[in-house]
Amino acid sequence: MIPASVRYHRAADLAEALELRRAYGDLLRPLAGGQSLLPALKLRRDRVDTLLDLGRIGELSYVAHRGDHLAVGALTRYQRLLTDPLVDRYAPMLATAAAAVGDPQVRHAGTVGGALAQADPAADLPLALVALDAVVVLASTAGTREVPAAELAVGPGATLCRPDELVTEVRVPLPGPARWSYRTFARPALEWSLVAVAVADGRVALAGMGPTIRRARGVEAALADGAGAAAAAARADEDCDPVDDVRASAAYRRHLSRVLVARALADCSPEVRP
């Protein structure tokens, strides 16, 4: 399989990429690592006029400690999160989530910004970023704006990122959670998570339980009211709308969410309190 005919342009730097986005908008599809986009193009599930390759914008590949937050550049590859000492010290959940992504080959190519822009409701790294209350920086030629990671995705594959914008950075607030857990349940090794949960102190986020990654507000409210892990976890699938498909029924996903939340809260016990 090869993609349909497509045009290709490699951006020399961020300034050029933003200028092209301003001028041509959605005529250009940003290409980061391509680990989700290329399979979609090969299967003809997606069509693109022109690929705007961001892969050589070195200025967007970094991990930096900036006092009250840890900044991760959008073109930072997953594999770096596994070994970066700043990630290990300040936001180790990102390394755990990155390790759950695909395999080493995919992690050598796939990027943090690509995962966010792809807005897959079962994605690992965006789940961790929602639980960590991270902020996503969107840039255009007019400047930058910050969007909470929890609000970036508006549906499967759809985000608040405008046609003239690019995801340039994520900021993880510091200090990070005192207690955290990341739990995922997938079928064979390479499948996407059926359901995954990330807990960071009193914040609980779920992947695979609706069109976007979401906070489990019912669980959080129960914890805030002093409920134990079991009682709180029983509310994991409140207000959720998991898909019913060939991989798993909606009822099974709901069951998984309750089990995984209970295990994740137990991982954090007894200090999990907002």
Binding site: L38, K42, V106
Partner: protein, 167 residues
């Protein structure tokens, strides 16, 4: 603005160093790296198994790191150093990973072997070890052997790791 002024081209020039040899050629933008290697350069050790980024048969090294060449455009490799199984041996002398695979009979039909060997080269380069059996199996999760010959592959990698730890 006119449509013709939009950026991008349907043909791209891809300049690479493949197994130490410089190469530059024009290909359609949609050309996958694996097709550049197999069909343009004639390097057919790199195989296409699933063609969906699952099986790892197409694994090559891009600037020293394992990637799946069925899921990268050739254009994304422009300027990079690419290594395939053809580029591992030093003349008649096998690469240590190839030698370990032979020693431990870590192949059956051989279809997955080039990708498997390159995934191991990348693993040993990135991870100083010592490696457990679990580490090795986790690191090779993206490489499928349909002969199911995993045990000897894992033995070969563990033997390589033990040798370098001792050495």
């Amino acid at each position: 603005m006119t449509v013709d002024a939009r950026p991008g081209t349907e043909a791209v020039t891809v300049t690479t160093t493949v197994n130490g040899r410089a190469d530059s050629r024009q290909v359609p933008a949609r050309t996958l790296l694996v097709h550049l290697l197999r069909e343009e350069l004639g390097l057919t050790a790199t195989t296409v198994g699933c063609d969906t980024s699952s099986c790892g048969a197409c694994t090559v090294l891009l600037d020293g790191r394992s990637v799946k060449s069925c899921t990268l455009l050739a254009a994304q490799a422009d300027g990079a150093d690419v290594r395939t199984a053809e580029g591992l041996a030093d003349g008649d002398r096998l690469h240590p990973v190839q030698e370990a695979f032979r020693e431990h009979h870590a192949l059956q039909c051989g279809f997955c072997t080039p990708g498997m060997v390159l995934a191991v080269v990348s693993l040993l380069d990135e991870n100083p070890g010592p490696l457990t059996e679990h580490d090795v199996r986790r690191a090779l999760v993206g490489n499928l052997c349909r002969c199911t010959g995993y045990h000897n592959i894992v033995r070969a990698v563990l033997a390589l790791d033990a040798a370098r730890q001792a050495g």
